[in-house]
């Protein structure tokens, strides 16, 4: 079983968070393994097994049970790191050298897509699908 954590926090201005991976449906279609999606109420359901609003303790248990996980740059990559469970992080505008962990596989299409200022809110950074690696590339590491 693998865990996916597809979405970053919603932005106040209602726009798509630039850290959200745009190819989840294509990636999920390529994965031949049970998948559990984790997230919060209001996020799009991408898999039959979508577990919403789990308490931190339950998330920790789930991380221990999974083979690995795939997610975007959000709290979950840090939680899994704290649980010593390596996974794959799909990056775009935030810098894995600052916010990532070397224990994970950090997939970044190109550093030219990184936001110039890494320390502001993401509301003013546009979502750019080209900034992400494609699903077949993710599958190579899965």
């Amino acid at each position: 079983m693998i865990i996916i954590q597809p979405f970053a926090k919603k932005l106040i201005n209602g726009k798509q968070n630039p850290k959200n991976y745009p190819y989840w449906k294509e990636l999920i279609a390529l994965i031949d393994e049970p998948i559990i999606q984790i997230g919060i109420e209001g996020e799009e359901q991408l898999t039959p097994d979508f577990r919403k609003n789990l308490p931190i303790a339950e998330l920790r248990s789930l991380i221990q049970e999974c083979r690995t996980w795939v997610g975007i740059d959000s709290f979950f990559q840090h939680l899994a790191w704290a649980e010593n469970k390596p996974g794959i992080v799909l990056w775009s505008v935030s810098d894995p050298l600052i916010f990532g962990h070397t224990e994970n596989i950090n997939l970044l299409e190109n550093r030219v897509y990184l936001a110039k200022n890494q320390f502001l809110w993401w509301d003013f950074t546009p979502h750019n699908p080209d900034a992400f690696v494609k699903p077949d590339k993710v599958l190579e590491f899965l």
Binding site: F76, H78, A82, L97, I98, F99, N117, Q118, F119
Partner: protein
């Protein structure tokens, strides 16, 4: 080493401010730039005023860069924080009614070795010249002894805090922007903060500034008692917890998780945060009430200030270890 001279002024266009500017441009060691932060309710363009026109002309002749900025009337601490973050190595802050003798900057600058955070000289207001020979300059004695800068300083001495005008290492410690507009204790808290970050604070001889204590105007011309009490309480809370490492996690859930990796290395921590289920902590609201300004612990603001390229965990180490 680039030195900025900052002067915050209010209500003293035609009294002591020209004297201060004259004293600055007659220093034996000039600063690299002079910025006048005009905090008047109705700021004026003084460039055509005969006195100022002459002063600016001398500055230009001496190649002293100068700038006159209209401040936001939020208090002296906001002004000094702006100067603190202007990218200079050192800032010499001068009050608008304190007249430095011509050797002050040169003399203060002599002490700017790598372990020094701030250097102050005598700030004299005759006829009040208290006996300061036995004054310690320790923060714990602040209610019990006069300020060591209020008389001639016979020899260089390490202290905990300075007041009024001094030269300080820029970009190391933030002014507490949680103080009220009158910014009571702002320079004491600031210099004590530099000391807590491991830098020495010195008072040195032969660096005399004459404090004219002009009764009119002044950056602290407001006298609301509640503001003084508010600022005094913040001061007491910070000094009262000086044996603790205050940690404020006004950041996200993931940041709390990363912070946990360094928590055990922090001596005697007092942690305030947003996610007690991740990091055992007291509330952010309590930290705000106790210490006023939380931005000095905002890890994202700090990383931005530092133009940070390293990891988040290393940024937490830089802030707290």
């Amino acid at each position: 080493m680039q030195i900025l001279c900052s002067v915050a002024t209010r209500g003293r266009y035609t009294t002591t401010l020209p004297l201060v500017l004259s004293a600055i441009i007659n220093q034996t060691r000039l600063p690299d730039k002079l910025v006048i932060f005009d905090d008047n309710d109705e700021p004026q363009d003084m460039r055509e005023n005969p006195i100022y026109k002459h002063l600016f002309s001398i500055m230009d002749s001496k190649n002293l860069k100068w700038e006159w900025l209209f401040a936001r009337k939020k208090g002296q601490h906001h002004i000094h924080q702006m100067a603190n973050t202007m990218g200079f190595d050192w800032v010499w802050r001068c009050d608008d009614d304190a007249i430095p003798e011509s050797n002050v900057l040169e003399n203060l600058y002599r002490y700017t070795t790598p372990k020094i955070g701030a250097i102050g000289g005598s700030i004299l207001t005759p006829p009040y010249m208290p006996d300061t020979l036995k004054v310690t300059g320790n923060i714990e004695q602040i209610d019990l002894e006069p300020n060591i800068q209020w008389n001639y300083i016979p020899r260089c001495k390490e202290v905990d805090h300075l007041h009024c005008s001094f030269l300080y290492r820029a970009g190391i410690h933030d002014y507490n922007l949680g103080l009220s507009r009158i910014a009571h204790r702002e320079e004491t808290l600031f210099t004590y903060g530099l000391k807590k970050k491991g830098y020495k604070i010195l008072v040195v001889p032969e660096s005399v500034t004459w404090h004219m204590k002009n009764p009119e105007g002044g950056i602290r011309s407001e006298t609301k008692r509640e503001m003084y009490e508010h600022d005094e309480q913040i001061f007491r809370n910070i000094v009262g917890n000086s044996d603790r490492t205050i940690v404020v996690l006004n950041c996200g859930l993931g940041d709390h998780i990363v912070f946990n990796s360094i928590l055990d290395s922090i001596p005697n921590p007092m942690v305030f945060g947003c996610y007690p289920e991740i990091t055992p902590c007291r509330s952010i609201a309590e930290a705000q009430a106790l210490f006023g300004d939380l931005d000095q612990w905002n890890i994202y603001k700090k990383m931005s200030q530092w133009d940070w390229k390293g990891s988040l965990a290393d940024a937490f180490k830089k802030l707290y270890l």
